[in-house]
Symmetry: C2
Subunit: 275 residues, 2 copies
């Protein structure tokens, strides 16, 4: 069986940057998982003594707190500073941007619409920067029955599908005087999405590697499934099943933005072994 | 044959307002046709001595110049003031709005995209308010090969179809960081368009009344034709042809925003006579 990697896959700029920051801060703690990949977080713990703190109250004065790529809510950041924690910001700059937009647009009196998952840490952070009047939707249908003033600013979770974002914007643009659309979906997301679509179309079976709580990985898997019905999401080589590759000729592989190369290598090696 | 008027048709707020202004200024001159309806312009000339001036250089100090509903370019307005002409502004407020947007956005460094007809007086006026970097397109296809900076502001000719406007916005939103969409298509246009669509769907034959150089009338006719193949555009009763109504049961009638009621009455009376 042929195993082919997507033209674009895996680590994005923001994840690479955050890992470098963590590696440079031996003995620090990340507040929440630095990236959505448990295996890489374990590696940082073992090789660089970077621990994971889930409860903000456990940080003490002088501690080094690394802010995760997804960012954190504004009041939590203020609390860390107040407690004189040494804050090291590894928030992806593409996430800092929608946070800033939210704050600015809110100050200018725009109603804010965020296209994304209200329970995702990135969105919890972004929405915390709006003063009031912020609405988070995961689909255009969720806009039904909602009221907005004439001026609306729209941002997207960085890892969302652009087509769905367009639907939300179009719905708002039809009936409101000014809709200020900030396309905050990041280019790495675009590139990985385009590449997985192309590869899925020419493959018999697809394996998408990434954390099961990783938003961008789930989107990749969903796009893959739309274009190749036998598409599987795995976190590592142990999740592979030899039955998937029976009578298949071409296997495509992609990986989410938080999936390290060493896991991708392990998975592709195991696929070759199984097929 | 049943003759039925669309639920919304004819004179919009801006046209009604402009005619009232002209009627209140007996003996004045409009610079360019006040509205796109020759018959109504003749009536204003005959009943209120409101003449039509096409050449700006013929205005003399102290003359009363009525600015047409479509507005005029910024430099021409400045020239009228400079020549101490008594300027009476009958520009539709819904047209003044995109002029202001164009000026403000241009000052803030946005590239401006106007969806409309570069040769239409409204657009000639609107685009004159942008300092530089203004692009006028009539379709999404015309955006191909054009380069814009990251921040774009988009406005529409007030009388355009909203679906086409959406296409232009979507194209820009996919690949630019910020697209500020000002939906300047006026509600009267929306309402007349929605109503003509509904009526055309339940009619055997459609008559749309309006000036042949009227943008909004042409759009109404185009929507009508999309929903009822036997759709005709007429300027007045003399354009009607009895052959159109042969073996037809339901005739729908709509009229552009610059079509006065007295013409609509003449046309519907003649349709009944012919059928």
């Amino acid at each position: 069986m042929n195993v082919k990697l997507a033209e674009n896959y895996g680590f994005c700029f923001g994840v690479k940057r955050a890992i470098k920051i963590a590696e440079e801060n031996i003995g620090s703690s990340t507040y929440g998982p630095l990236i959505h990949n448990g295996k890489e977080i374990n590696r940082l713990q073992e090789d660089f003594q970077v621990s994971l703190v889930e409860d903000i109250s456990t940080f003490k004065e002088g501690d080094k707190a690394v802010i995760r790529t997804h960012g954190i809510p504004k009041d939590e950041l203020a609390l860390l500073h107040e407690k004189k924690i040494d804050v090291i910001d590894a928030t992806c700059p593409y996430v800092t941007k929608p946070q800033q937009i939210c704050e600015e647009m809110s100050n200018e009196g725009y109603d804010i619409v965020i296209f994304g998952d209200v329970n995702h840490p990135e969105i919890k952070g972004v929405m915390s920067y709006a003063k009031k009047g912020v609405t988070v939707v995961e689909s255009v249908e969720e806009l039904e029955g909602k009221f907005f003033y004439e001026k609306i600013a729209v941002v997207a979770q960085t890892t969302r599908k652009v087509d769905e974002f367009m639907k939300v914007c179009n719905h708002l643009m039809r009936s409101h005087k000014e809709v200020r659309v900030f396309n905050t979906i990041c280019n790495a997301t675009f590139d990985n999405q385009d590449a997985v679509k192309a590869l899925a179309n020419e493959s018999d079976v697809m394996v998408v590697i990434g954390g099961k709580n990783s938003s961008n990985t789930k989107e990749l898997h969903s796009i893959s499934k739309d274009n190749c019905k036998d598409s599987y999401l795995v976190e590592g080589p142990d999740d592979l099943d030899s039955a998937w590759f029976l009578n298949k000729k071409d296997c495509g592989v992609s990986a989410g933005a938080s999936t390290p190369d060493w896991i991708i290598k392990q998975v592709t090696a195991k696929i070759k072994e199984l097929s």
